[in-house]
């Protein structure tokens, strides 16, 4: 067991693994650091159409590299983040954005979870209210039983005293 874990650590430390994680460092130059920051955040927000479930920052497929170069070009041109995302969505569809636009086809995605939560809260509060109402009536009846029990107890102790 120990040997296996040592082996795994060795494999993870080997140059092939380390180099994979640095495979996609493009050497783009930026005229301002604001552009660089925006570029870096945009390539994390855009999804690779070929290697799905990877952002274009993380993928070394040719299409992802083309997309990075277009993002760089657009950012340097002074396009806003929305412009860049729209540019990509126009070509590759809503799929490429990890942050889909709010529009009728994505309402379910954006508002669905909130609607479900709201619905759950309503249901729970209805149930809780009903329960507490029930418990309330039970407590009223308890008052009655309490008196009865006292009476019975009093009678009982009375009979017991007699015996003594």
């Amino acid at each position: 067991m120990k040997k296996i874990s040592q082996l795994i650590v060795l494999i993870l430390m080997s140059p092939t693994f380390v180099s994979i994680s640095y495979a996609n460092v493009d050497l783009y130059e930026f005229s301002s650091s604001e552009y660089r920051i925006r570029y870096l955040s945009l390539i994390k927000e855009l999804r690779c159409p070929k290697c799905q479930n990877q952002d274009i920052a993380d993928s070394n497929s040719p299409i992802a590299s083309d997309m990075r170069s277009e993002v760089h070009r657009l950012v340097e041109q002074g396009s806003s983040n929305d412009d860049v995302v729209n540019f990509m969505v126009d070509r590759f569809g809503e799929f490429v954005s990890y942050k889909p636009r709010v529009q009728p086809s994505t309402y379910l995605l954006w508002y669905g979870p909130w609607a479900l939560i709201a619905f759950g809260v309503i249901i729970i509060s209805l149930i809780v209210r009903r329960r507490s109402a029930l418990i309330g009536t039970q407590e009223d009846s308890k008052e009655g039983t309490h008196e009865e029990v006292e009476k019975l107890l009093a009678n009982y102790s009375g009979t017991r005293d007699d015996k003594n």
Binding site: P49, Q52, I63, D66, E70, V89, F92, E94, I123, R130
Partner: protein, 178 residues
């Protein structure tokens, strides 16, 4: 009555969600929507594969219903579908090639060797038109109507089955409307 509704509604919602999600099972997630559907072919100016001095534009795609086939010599599936494209072209289907991110000489050699089903081939060395079209993997085949509007995109190999089941009905539909 309201009591029953309150207790049943989570079940109803779970069922509705279940049905919605169930319909998505079995869908191929690698097939993306065609963002350019019903949009005109994006403007371009690119050389002809066979002649670097002749430039082609989106105007060259207008006139009649056309197939625009995206291919490259580095793409194995393109080789697989090439024979069927030759067949289609013999049947009189108008096919225009888009040579995507490729080199001119090997591409010309490929056509020499495997036959040329294309009326002409657009040479898109840097994938500019491909990018504007939203090409994410060759081969892709677009159905372009007489006005130069994208009516359908097929990602992957075009074979007899795909042709019969998807392209034929569309071609009939657009030939009638034109």
């Amino acid at each position: 009555m309201t009591n029953r509704w309150v207790y049943l509604s989570p079940l109803v919602i779970a069922l509705t969600l279940g049905i919605i999600l169930y319909t998505a099972i079995g869908k191929d997630p690698t097939k993306l929507e065609t963002a350019r559907l019903n949009d005109p072919i994006p403007a371009f100016k690119l050389p002809k594969l066979s002649d670097a001095n002749v430039f082609l534009t989106q105007e060259n795609l207008k006139g009649e219903l056309t197939l625009l086939n995206v291919w490259a010599t580095w793409c194995p599936s393109c080789k697989a579908e090439h024979g069927y494209l030759n067949e289609l072209s013999k049947k009189g289907v108008k096919i225009i090639g888009l040579n995507y991110k490729d080199e001119r000489d090997p591409a010309l050699a490929w056509l020499e060797k495997l036959g040329n089903p294309y009326e002409f081939v657009i040479y898109d060395k840097h994938g500019k038109l491909g990018f504007d079209l939203g090409v994410y993997g060759a081969p892709e085949t677009y159905l372009v109507d007489a006005k130069g509007v994208v009516r359908y995109r097929h990602v992957g190999v075009v074979n007899h089955q795909v042709w019969q089941s998807t392209f034929m009905p569309l071609i009939q539909q657009y030939n009638l409307t034109n």
